[in-house]
Symmetry: C2
Subunit: 730 residues, 2 copies
């Protein structure tokens, strides 16, 4: 059973609100500096075909439309009302709207929860009215909405083109920036925009669900500063990414940025890397830079997904072929190794000085015959070793640069590329240095739905997103045993009792209890014995024999065992054990005279290997999250760790191990043998299932686990108990 | 004495060649598809005012200009000839040109060294003629040149605007791309472009020197795939960066890219990171992405350098303030901490909901008064804690977005920003989401020489480049003892003898000899003793006393001592020493029965500390280079190392230590004390001076050096001797 269940049950109520048959503009105005004027202009100029009800007690007509003195006075029942009036008027207006049959209101005013206790009280009053009258709220403190396929443009933004990119943005400036970029690009259009504002009622998760359902939206694009219910967001994202691409830009990637963000919205921004890992786990395309948002959304919307990461590059200049190769490698993509057949076919049509090894550099072959580039693209697209094709160079500009007489050939090349894009299931990504000029051949490609990029960097980001999406969807579509969650575990009564006892005693699990929990669920733990008295050591020594042993104090009161002198290592023989026992008792007593000491844990010294760490937290935003990383400085200094939402699939666990920058260490660096990755993957999956089975478990820390070429050793284990969580719950 | 000496001695001969009074176009043509036509059009349409001599035996007139049957037939003495004819004609034409007084030729033809042995022979023949006749060569295999301030445009590129950015690019497509980008930007113009081609005669270093001297060039911009004489390039770069900014984009940043590059030009691309470190050492502004070249060159050309890395951000939207903060942190810049006075002054003019903590978010305060942003910029520019100012948001678009009536106020704001930029010595970097639209206020800023960026990412790259350049120049301008090279060292006769002996014996220095070399020049090395016989150990044991000792074999034939069983650790007492001696002798004999074994080296075990590595190579491209990094996985897996050209200044050594990603480890991670950075800096400087003093030293490896809170221990030292290098040379 999978706790992230949330299928799209009912159709989102936002469809009615965002495609209303009538709109009331409360605070409509004839003063061009007012939002109540702008909104009216947006609706009228935008050609909104429903009823417009300007509400303004002081006007008869606004921009030629009959005005009404109040919402109550409106004759019809507009589904949507835009409130342009001050915060204090909002609760009363919502009640009035509700009585008039308004289903949703967009509230522009600020002055609510974001300003302090007084505003928060007003926000509560607003919400109470909304609930009482069945009115849904977008905002308050929102920049507004548009829905271009219904000619609704409450922001009155000029030059917006209807299209298939839906946007939710916590920053109004970001929306403006995307709109201007799209205008400039000339190709990209938008479906719906929503500024979520304070999200008092409707939040990110609902908006994403709406964009998922909206048939005019092909790509959902989100600018996010922080999530509230991150786990729910992941649920919705999983459903939506199965249907269409979801592009997220998350700000606050650095500590400095996080501080700036929290002073802005007060949102709990959380750890950037964790957020990104979890979003990607559920198929979201995360972009790193704000200027990548639109190029990536455009590419994901227009192009086929790639089956993998092997890219063939066709270039008409060696320099840009090199640059493309650099960027591909940085983005985690590979240069496809072309088959001998492909190279032969290329050689047959290219000049001798051309390089037919990927990146293919035609080296002048296309100077008087630009359509040759389309032939090259076809050859590599037909190669089974290739997942996607990148064209790099001056295509579209041959007739400008060399001779006008080339225009015909260049247009035939464009036509051939269009044909190829229809014939192949591999994406064709085109970078042209003539993109800003938009010559005829590029316009033709544009018209046929092939995006043209003006930056190699952006073209490569698109290829990476297409490859990641392809691999993600391929996993999702695999049969259950591979792609889906692992089978769940049932909690064991004896272990529930251990949790219950710990909870009653107000403590966490003792180390041996934690290890018993692991062992109970099939995780290999080192043999170990608890000695309560010094005299127990004789039998223990006999059992282990003459091998080096470690001894650790067992005490609910001593968290940092080493600091208390509670750990002795490399003990061989009975005498050494006895002496260590005495020393541990003495120094732990010195450390904390009141500590209750249960005894000591004796275990064989772990062999040398690669230190890894597995941690689990129940994140307030995202719920249970598993972290995996290499030990020591890798975690603490380099922050080279991977996060996944629990439960993990096998694919997730595989990816966690592969994702680490230092994975070369796992694979056997410096002449050492590599570790048993399969055993680690298995361990991660079992930990994930234990966390699911025991809601009493609040945090878990296996640190270190020593990984070997043949398995692993869990050297230390800590389990923190959820306070007050009863074990009798299922 | 500083081996990087190369001051600009004489004026570059390129000035005459690139600003000629007459130009011969050999292979001039009336066929629009030929380069010989394009070049004629470029000269005529470009308004070249000198004499044009088309050379074509079959034409009387070309494009209305009298043609000549051969170079010899030309009546005047053009300084420059463009050869558009095939490779085979080139040597003969050069001789003819030389006789006619031509100083330089631009050779477009390919088919020389880049194609194989036959072409290489032709290239040699060409060079012989050039030397015999005193003709300098640009190319062959070049895309051409332009010099817009002299109306010379041999590429016949349209829409080029004269300006102050000079370009040398190994990729013709890159030049085209920059030209189209500049055309689109509308503000940026170029001085000279040179395609270096095969660099058979004139190379990168000469072109950079020329751009440094050229008074029409304010910024030298280079696209480089690989260097030939990298050390000479660094010399020239040091001279040029003292006068004007030098921007370099180096391709081949990844292994994949390097492979692509070498199949393209056959240039030795070297390690990307080393190249970048060395370029930065000499003040070059290295950009990481090709689409940053023009924005950074524009910013460095127009704006003042920044005194440091503390940036004040003024934003009219919280989202973009956060994005800017993220990017600043990633670029190694800091958010300046504004003084209380500044924050008070800001509070006085902003709405209560504004954030006056950097990033300053005016939060609506400028909605009806955009000129307020200029006031905010002035306040933070006057703050001593601030080195540069970044404006982020929609300035320029207020009158478009809110109300036309704001245009006057917005223009006053632009005027105030222009005044501020003239009054302050701090750079003002402006990002506007309206940059692509170029509204009047932004056009005004543009006219006044303030660049406007359409991407936050690019704006931040410019700030980083301005800060780096400012810090670099400040160091250069410091008095000798701080900024300049450290005093040099003289070689010691006894050490020269050690090198000479090793050279004669065809071996490298033995470990104790290497350590003696270090000790001789003031580097602290652990006390150590060589035992030739087992009996020597008694006295050694007495001298060291009862502390743990390490023993290592001394043999010219055993490079990997551990592999040979030639290292024993943690030896305490005479018996242990004796036993270790026997074991080492036995296993080294087993390992290599023919190895000559000098004895063993006995030294105290090093205390635990932080492992670092210091290495020196004499790079074939860049000459002697010092590498510094943390030991073990940091070097081997993470490649977290810093490089500097020898000799190092103290500033260089400081920067090496600060530059490491893992420098937190040096500063005391995981509760450990930090190490003595000053001692490490001193060690780096001494190593640099030793390398200068001994040309016999080919490579050096101190691995590991253990760094402590109080000094360091050089645990192992290797010195490779330059074969055949006589010690009698100075």
């Amino acid at each position: 059973m999978n706790p992230i269940e949330g299928h799209l049950q009912t159709r989102s109520p936002l469809h009615d609100i965002l495609a209303p048959k009538g709109i009331a503009v409360v605070g409509a105005s004839a003063d061009p500096t007012k939002r109540g004027y702008k909104a009216m202009v947006g609706l009228i100029k935008g050609g909104y075909r429903g009823d417009i009800y300007p509400v303004n007690p002081k006007a008869e007509l606004i921009l030629g439309v009959k005005a009404w003195p109040s919402v109550s006075a409106i004759p019809g029942s507009p589904e949507l009302a835009l409130l342009c009036t001050p915060a204090a008027t909002v609760p009363g207006l919502i009640a009035e709207c509700g009585r008039r049959g308004v289903k949703g209101v967009v509230i522009l005013a600020s002055g609510f929860g974001e300003t302090g206790p007084e505003g928060a009280a007003l926000e509560r009053e607003m919400m109470a009215k909304a609930e009482a009258h069945g009115v849904r709220i977008i905002g308050p403190n929102t920049s507004g909405i548009f829905n271009l396929h219904h000619n609704i443009n409450l922001l009155a933004l000029d030059n917006l083109k209807p299209g298939d990119i839906g946007i939710v943005s916590q920053s109004g400036n970001m929306l403006l920036s995307l709109a201007l970029e799209a205008q400039h690009n000339g190709q990209v259009g938008f479906s719906t925009y929503i500024g979520p504002g304070n999200q008092s009622d409707i939040g990110f998760n609902d908006y994403l669900r709406y964009l998922g359902e909206d048939e005019n939206t092909r790509v959902a694009t989100l600018y996010v500063e922080g999530f509230r219910d991150g786990r729910k967001f992941l649920e919705v994202a999983r459903d939506v990414t199965a249907m269409k691409p979801v592009v997220v830009y998350k700000s606050g990637s650095t500590e400095q940025g996080r501080q700036a963000a929290s002073s802005h919205t007060g949102a709990l921004a959380g750890s950037y890397q964790m957020t990104v890992d979890l979003l990607r786990q559920f198929g979201v395309s995360v972009v790193q830079y704000s200027d990548e948002i639109l190029p990536v959304a455009e590419g994901l919307g227009l192009l086929q997904r790639a089956a993998g990461k092997r890219v063939a590059v066709i270039a008409d200049g060696g320099g840009q072929a090199t640059i493309a190769s650099d960027r591909l490698a940085e983005a985690g993509l590979e240069l496809a190794e072309l088959s001998d057949t492909s190279r032969e076919r290329l050689r047959a049509i290219l000049l001798p000085q051309a390089s037919t090894r990927n990146p293919v550099d035609v080296a002048g072959s296309s100077d008087s015959h630009p359509a040759l580039l389309a032939e090259c693209m076809r050859i590599v697209a037909e190669d089974d070793n290739v997942d996607s094709v990148l064209l790099v160079g001056m295509f579209g500009g041959y007739s400008l640069r060399f001779a006008e007489s080339l225009l015909g050939d260049e247009m035939r090349g464009a036509e051939a590329m269009v044909d190829l894009s229809n014939a192949t299931d591999k994406p064709l990504v085109i970078y042209s240095l003539y993109a800003p000029i938009k010559p005829p051949a590029l316009r033709r490609l544009h018209e046929a739905g092939l995006p043209i990029y003006a930056s190699i960097e952006h073209a490569v980001r698109v290829l990476a997103a297409l490859g990641e999406r392809g691999l993600y969807l391929a996993q999702q579509e695999k049969p259950l045993e591979q792609g889906a969650s692992e089978p769940s575990m049932l909690p064991v009564p004896s272990m529930r009792a251990v949790f219950e006892r710990a909870r009653q005693e107000g403590r966490d699990l003792l180390e041996y209890e934690a290890k018993a929990l692991l062992a109970e669920h099939g995780i290999e733990v080192p043999k170990e014995q608890v000695a309560i008295n010094r005299s127990d050591l004789v039998a223990i020594a006999d059992e282990f024999g003459e091998i080096p042993l470690a001894m650790k104090v067992v005490s609910r009161d001593i968290l940092h065992k080493s600091d208390a002198g509670g750990v002795k290592l490399n003990l061989v023989g009975k005498a050494a054990l006895a002496e260590a026992f005495d020393r541990i008792m003495a120094s732990c007593h010195d450390y904390d005279p009141n500590a209750a000491i249960e005894g000591v844990l004796v275990t064989p010294m772990a062999r040398k290997g690669v230190e890894v760490i597995i941690g689990v937290i129940r994140d307030p935003i995202f719920g249970p999250v598993l972290m995996f990383g290499l030990g020591g400085i890798f975690v603490e200094i380099l922050e080279d760790v991977a996060f996944r939402s629990i439960p993990l699939t096998r694919y997730d666990a595989d990816c966690m191990v592969e994702q680490l920058k230092a994975k070369k260490v796992l694979e056997g660096a410096r002449g050492e043998a590599g570790v048993d990755k399969a055993a680690l993957v298995d361990l991660l999956l079992k930990v994930s299932r234990i966390v699911q089975a025991y809601p009493q478990l609040s945090e878990l820390d296996l640190n270190p686990v020593i990984a070997y070429p043949d398995g692993y050793a869990v050297v230390d284990a800590r389990v923190i108990v959820e306070p007050g969580q009863s074990t009798t719950s299922p």
